[in-house]
């Protein structure tokens, strides 16, 4: 895997993350489509995700929760807004309580995923659009593993390797 580029826009509050994988587009699509594969990478190892509902068709709602080391649960949901398998996916990524009940007090993050074939590799572009700092902060809290430092240190090691 190679991280090709990362673009951060502090005004628009967007992040565009581009990575390349040594697999074909169909195979990379599977890690998004198959809930058993998706839950192996969506949450950090200390907060693994469990998808109780997942189907990549327009209008479909996915439901998941992440379980922390002490058993605490953090819920989330997706609403699939556009699909063109196996190259394009758009969804709203929202928050939910521990029972999976959507939290409507905070807007979902808009996510766009694009897969494209580059030689024998697949380039994956994920664009995340936030509406507020509060929302971004909540997303970071939820996705981060045991505080920022540990996770970031690990990444540095990998990126410099």
């Amino acid at each position: 895997m190679t991280v090709i580029s990362v673009e951060k826009d502090t005004d628009a509050l967007t992040l565009t993350f581009v990575a390349e994988f040594a697999a074909d587009v169909d195979r990379v699509w599977q890690v998004w489509e198959d809930p058993r594969q998706l839950e192996r990478w969506w949450g950090p190892p200390t907060w693994p995700a469990t998808f109780t509902r997942h189907d990549l068709s327009v209008g479909s709602r996915s439901s998941y929760f992440m379980t922390g080391p002490d058993g605490t649960k953090a819920g989330g949901w997706w609403l699939v807004t556009a699909v063109d398998a196996p190259t394009h996916l758009e969804f709203d990524d929202g928050f939910a309580d521990e029972n999976g009940k959507p939290d409507d007090s905070i807007e979902p993050v808009k996510a766009t995923v694009t897969l494209e074939s580059i030689g024998d590799k697949t380039r994956m572009t994920t664009l995340s659009r936030f509406v507020s700092l509060e929302q971004l902060e909540k997303m970071v809290e939820m996705g981060m593993e045991e505080g920022m430092t540990l996770a970031m240190g690990q990444i540095d090691e990998v990126l410099s390797a």
């Binding site: 502090t10 509050l13 040594a22 995340s128 996705g143 981060m144 996770a151 990444i155 540095d156």
Partner: protein, 116 residues
Amino acid sequence: MVVDQSTETGIDRIFQALADATRRDIVSRVITASHSVTSLAEHYDMSFAAVQKHVQVLERALLVTKERRGREQLVRGRIDTIGRAAALLQAYEQIWAQRALRIDKILVEDTHKEKS
């Protein structure tokens, strides 16, 4: 020193400052409470001068401020909107970098299975 944070260079400076693991760690420590450079230095396997330098980079990026309290220099987080947005997007980038690594692990497993 006057730096216009709304310019691109200001934002670049913030991202550059946050690109280093030690500096990110310093920021995460001083966001919640002031720390002296001496007490910060205790957390890292590097010289006081090296830590001092990291603090200077953060100061230039306007992510922290230093103030003299007696004989100590206290470092405090100075995260305004742009700094906060940058720090959070930097953190969110790490979330995606980690996810990409985990995806890669799943894909690499396939290759191993094919070979065996």
